[in-house]
Amino acid sequence: MLYINCPHCGMRSQNEFSYGGDASVKRPELNKEVSDQEWDNFVYNRKSLRGKHLELWQHISGCRQWIKVERDTATHEIFRTFKADEEVA
């Protein structure tokens, strides 16, 4: 079971969180013309990376905040975690 450092609550076990997918995906702005390709990339197309991956988790049984987690998909090592509005350098 992973041990995730919620930037709001501290170290918590994985069973308090739910997974939310790739955090690098940006939703196209509302009311903006979007090509089929762009839209498909946003809704469907994901890379199944091996290695460092920035992903979303929600601390559903805690502060309910969505957070960003930088995790290695092969080793499960977690490098850094970020608040929803934090820019990831």
């Binding site: 992973l2 946003f42 499960h76 929803a84």
Partner: protein, 998 residues
């Protein structure tokens, strides 16, 4: 019953307390502190089971967790448990156990015929034989295997025992209480670290219980006892025996199974049988020791052949002689230690040492005691069937290829030592890649992957002095990092005998003309010849060899067999062992009861049960409940002998003619506040929300980004910046997460707060033509007329002193209202509605009637919003705004979603107006068409229309828009039904929606 093999003095058992027990129906005596194995051996019982494949007689091979043979069926307190190792099961008064793997009895076993037909059972036997012909599988092979194989029988009864889970956090977790575990624990504890020390056996001390050493001028055991006593007194230390750490998972999470009650005749009241500990440790010290490995020789599975360390443990811990004429066969000094113990208790052993001329302090001691030692000698084969009677021995050449003349000598047990294998399982599970250590011919942990360190014998270090030194230091260093204390501890003096180098020798060659079985894996009956066959047939990867031969795949996970298997493969393949590599170690290290894994999450406790505040009223009024997500909801209220169909029909009809009340507390409720609340709603719902006036409700549909309908419900504007959203019962949690996702990540600029209020409000839907009359009586001071409270209107009211929210919304399609009060007043509200409603013939209705009402109205619910449909499919395209953008809108332009013949909701009526159509039935054009018959759609929901008194269903049908009036067939192969049907509008009742506005 005498315990003929118990020695007069010695052992750590309590001879003042005799215990009687039964094995295979016969009564024996043992002592408190015995294991089942030691007590049986004390009584001279060596035959405990039959092997898995050949049903050869099986005795005891080890004295603990590594035991491959002595697996028994245990009977305790009216329960039975299979797969119990006799070497681990502590004796208690009244214990009963039986052999497994034998039929009809351990002494006469029909399956043993396999042993004499063994030509038919080589490696890959199961793969080859039972593959063909297929039809033989059920009739012949499976019953045969079921009868002949298996390691006991699981109980079919409900397990009365209770199992608990515990979550724990510590600075340092220590696996194993041998010298390195104790030293590490002590040093860390002195630095104030929070320490958990786990020992799988009942007694602490590990190898110190049996080794002849001195620490700080005390015997090793006395030193261990002292340390444990001190640790137990410290508030920052948890010391646990009978507790096996069996799994090392991600981020330093380890799981431990504590046997709380297995050593007692029955579990104490309020105690669990086992407790599963989930331990998150900052640091882990693996001090799991090592397991002696066997030397492979002919008939090496005969009862009476056992590990030399086990023989020593039976003698020193349990005061039991495993034989009176022991033969010790060794390639290192450990065998001598066992021989010396025998000699000290008046038994004359013979030592066969494969080495030519070894010299060490231990060997000198053995020589001084006058022990008969034969160098460059090996056991070629054990003789005897149910027990060792003699051994064929021979000298062996220096290259270990040539045997000398074979002699037969009498003996009653053969104690084998092929050197030591570090227990690297936990380190390996943590992700640590093990490395091969030439000096000890075994794998040891490599670079640490997580915060773990392996010390002592588990790390291939067999010197006590070095073990203590490194472990005290590690305990200090690891704890210093965490607590920042640095209390120096004096490392005690150690007196131990030095050992000489072991012999790189593990398998005795077959003598000419002999074909003895030489076993590698004792539990799965895998012999040297099986591995040879596998390699001959082209299996190369050790993982494949393992699966083909089943080597190391038994319940003991090959604790005694893995390395010898690797040695064999490396020899045949002419590769070094590290090049062959070993199979992966996976948790659990030892078998774990399913009960312990499940814990308290059984039966009613497997998921939470949520009840509405009116639950007890429903119970008292004969409600029959149904699971709705995690909620319990009344399905119908039973009157007299009514069944579900009759009751729900009555309830639905009463709504259509009078008035009914339904508990809708379970609906998801989300409170939305903030100046941008309307903007949020406008973005997540498909329809327009910016102009909804205060005091008005609106029906809304929300989509996922892929255009699929996610949920529907009404949202009401309570005040300027305050909205009350309802969701379906099933999607309540998902919708909240969905809103939070957009507010926190996508549109953080919106000034809105959302919070779940599902449990804060109790809800009652009042529906039917007389609902307004009832409402007026409930709220005499409010104007609930069609003008005062129009359709989709909202007001607050006073319900006999209780503040209530009144929404004029309808799911049933009738004139209807929903009244909410704070949960604590729910029952009060409900009773008032029933009481006041009496004069209007009110009846409560359950979910079944609710479904009927919504189906015949063509209102969609979860069975239509099934994660595969878009608004058009549900005839909701009128709610999709063309002007504004919203979540999922762009996806609705996808070609499949705008196809001319897009699927759409329709109504379905059987032509005979009699036969109900099973939900899930497929709609087809031609019921006689060859399979696969093209499917045009499926029945999503069915009911008995109370309006028309005939069956009615909803369906999602291809080109549904143009299919009205068509005749199709509804086919349900599951229910074996073919029903001719007509397609009608989904709005079967009141298609213009006049009633809700009346």
């Amino acid at each position: 019953m005498t315990q003929a093999f118990r020695i007069e003095n010695g052992g750590l058992i309590n001879k003042d307390k005799k215990l009687s027990f039964k094995f295979n129906g016969k009564t024996y005596l043992g002592y408190e502190g015995d294991t089942l194995a030691s007590a049986l051996l004390a009584n001279g019982v060596h035959l405990v089971g039959r092997s898995f494949k050949y049903h050869r007689p099986r005795g005891f091979f080890g004295a603990g967790v590594d035991e491959p043979y002595a697996v028994v069926q245990l009977f305790r307190n009216g329960e039975t448990e299979p797969n119990i190792k006799a070497t681990e099961q502590e004796l208690f008064e009244g214990l009963e156990a039986k052999s497994v793997n034998c039929w009809p009895s351990v002494n006469f076993d029909i399956g043993a015929i396999n042993n004499f037909l063994k030509i038919f059972l080589p490696a890959g036997f199961y793969y080859k034989t039972f593959m063909w012909p297929k039809s033989f599988w059920y009739r012949i092979y499976e019953p045969f295997i079921r009868k002949a194989a298996g390691l006991g029988v699981a109980s079919t009864k409900h397990d009365k025992e209770r199992y608990e889970h515990k979550y724990e956090y510590c600075d340092l977790l220590i696996a194993g209480s041998g010298p390195s575990g104790l030293a590490g624990a002590y040093a860390a504890a002195k630095n104030g670290a929070k320490v958990i020390l786990a020992e799988d056996k009942p007694r602490f001390g590990g190898s110190l219980l049996t080794s002849d050493v001195n620490i700080g001028n005390q015997s090793g055991k006395d030193w261990a006892d002292g340390i444990v006593a001190e640790l137990k007194k410290m508030p920052n230390v948890v010391v646990k025996n009978r507790s096996q750490i069996f799994g090392y998972y991600d981020h330093n999470m380890l799981v431990m199974s504590e046997k709380v009650s297995d050593h007692l005749p029955s579990t104490k009241k309020y105690h669990p049988n086992k407790r599963l500990w989930y331990i998150r440790a900052k640091e882990v010290l693996i001090s799991s020791g090592s397991i002696e490995r066997p030397i492979v020789f002919g008939n090496n599975d005969t009862p009476g052949v056992m590990l030399s360390s086990a023989a020593k443990e039976y003698l020193k811990v349990y005061g039991v002689l495993v034989g009176r004429k022991p033969l010790v066969f060794t390639n290192n000094d450990s065998g001598y230690e066992t021989a010396i113990e025998f000699k000290k208790h008046g038994v004359d052993p013979i030592v066969l040492d494969s080495r030519k001329n070894p010299e060490s302090e231990i060997i000198d001691e053995a020589k001084n005691l006058g022990i008969n030692i034969k160098n460059s000698y090996v056991v070629v084969a054990a003789q005897g069937y149910k027990k060792v009677k003699s051994a064929d021995i021979a000298s062996i050449s220096e290259d270990k290829k040539q045997l000398g003349k074979i002699e037969n000598i009498q003996c009653d047990c053969i104690c084998v030592s092929g050197f030591w294998t570090p227990t690297v399982h936990l380190a390996s599970q943590s992700g640590n890649k093990t490395k091969f250590k030439e000096e000890i011919d075994a794998f040891v942990p490599g670079q640490s992957k997580q915060n773990e360190i392996t010390l002592g014998a588990a790390n291939g270090v067999f010197s006590l002095e070095e073990t203590l030194k490194t472990s005290f230091t590690a305990g200090s260093e690891l704890s210093k990092k965490i607590t920042e204390n640095d209390n120096k501890i004096a490392i005690p003096n150690v007196v131990e005998k030095k050992s000489s180098q072991h012999d790189r020798f593990w398998c005795v060659p077959l003598p000419k003309g002999k074909n003895y079985k030489r076993f590698l894996d004792f539990q799965n009956d895998v012999a040297v010849s099986d591995v040879e066959i596998a390699l001959r047939e082209g299996y190369r990867s050790i993982e494949h060899v393992k699966r083909y031969t089943t080597l190391g795949m038994a319940t003991d996970q090959g604790k005694t067999s893995n390395l010898n298997g690797l040695q064999l493969v490396s020899e045949i393949e002419n590769k070094v062992v590290p090049a062959v590599g070993h199979t992966t170690f996976r948790p659990p290290y030892t078998p774990v009861s399913i009960g312990a894994i499940v814990g308290r999450e059984v039966g009613k406790h497997s998921k939470p049960t949520r009840k509405s505040p009116m639950h007890s009223w429903h119970e008292k009024n004969d409600a029959v409940f149904v699971d709705a997500g995690v909620w319990l909801r009344p399905r119908y209220y039973k009157r007299g002998n009514e069944n579900l169909f009759e009751a729900s029909k009555r309830e639905a009809k009463n709504v259509r003619t009078n008035v009914g009340v339904c508990d809708v507390t379970t609906l998801g409720k989300i409170d939305i506040k903030g100046p941008d609340a309307a903007e949020l709603l406008n973005r997540v719902y498909t329809n327009a929300w910016l102009k909804l006036p205060v005091g008005k409700a609106r029906y809304g549909v929300m989509l996922r980004e892929d255009g699929i309908v996610m949920d529907d419900g009404t949202t009401t504007r309570i005040s300027e910046n305050h909205y009350h959203m309802t969701t379906t019962t099933a999607q309540a949690a998902n919708v909240l997460s969905h809103l939070e996702y957009y507010l926190q990540l996508v549109w953080p600029e919106l000034n809105v707060n959302v919070v779940s209020t599902t449990e804060q409000w109790a809800g009652a839907a009042i529906a039917g033509p007389k609902s307004r009359d009832l409402l007026q009586k409930l709220f005499p001071n409010s104007d609930v007329s069609n003008e005062g409270l129009p359709f989709m209107g909202y007001m607050e009211g006073d319900l006999f002193g209780v503040k209530a929210r009144i929404y004029r919304i309808s799911f049933s399609g009738e004139l209807a209202y929903e009244v909410n009060v704070e949960s604590d007043y729910g029952n009060f509200m409900w009773e008032k509605i029933i009481e006041v409603g009496e004069e209007f013939n009110i009846q409560p209705y359950g979910t079944e009637a609710l479904s009927t009402l919504r189906i015949e109205m063509g209102h969609v619910a979860g069975s239509e919003l099934d994660g595969r449909t878009i608004p058009f499919d549900n005839a909701l395209e009128g709610l999709v705004s063309k002007k504004k953008d919203f979540i999922g809108k762009r996806s609705l332009q996808r070609s499949a979603f705008i196809a001319e013949d897009r699927q759409r909701i329709v109504g379905v009526v059987p032509l005979d107006k009699q036969t109900s159509i099973p939900e899930g039935s497929h709609l087809v054009k031609d019921d006689k068409a060859p399979l696969p018959n093209p499917k045009l759609g499926h029945i999503s929901a069915s009911c008995w229309s109370v309006e028309y008194d005939n069956p009615f269903s909803l369906a999602i049908l291809k080109d549904g828009k143009n299919m009205i009036g068509q005749k199709l067939f509804a086919m349900s192969p599951l229910k074996n039904k073919v029903i001719p049907v007509e397609i009608v509008s989904s709005h079967y009742v009141d298609p213009k929606g006049e009633r809700v506005r009346s």
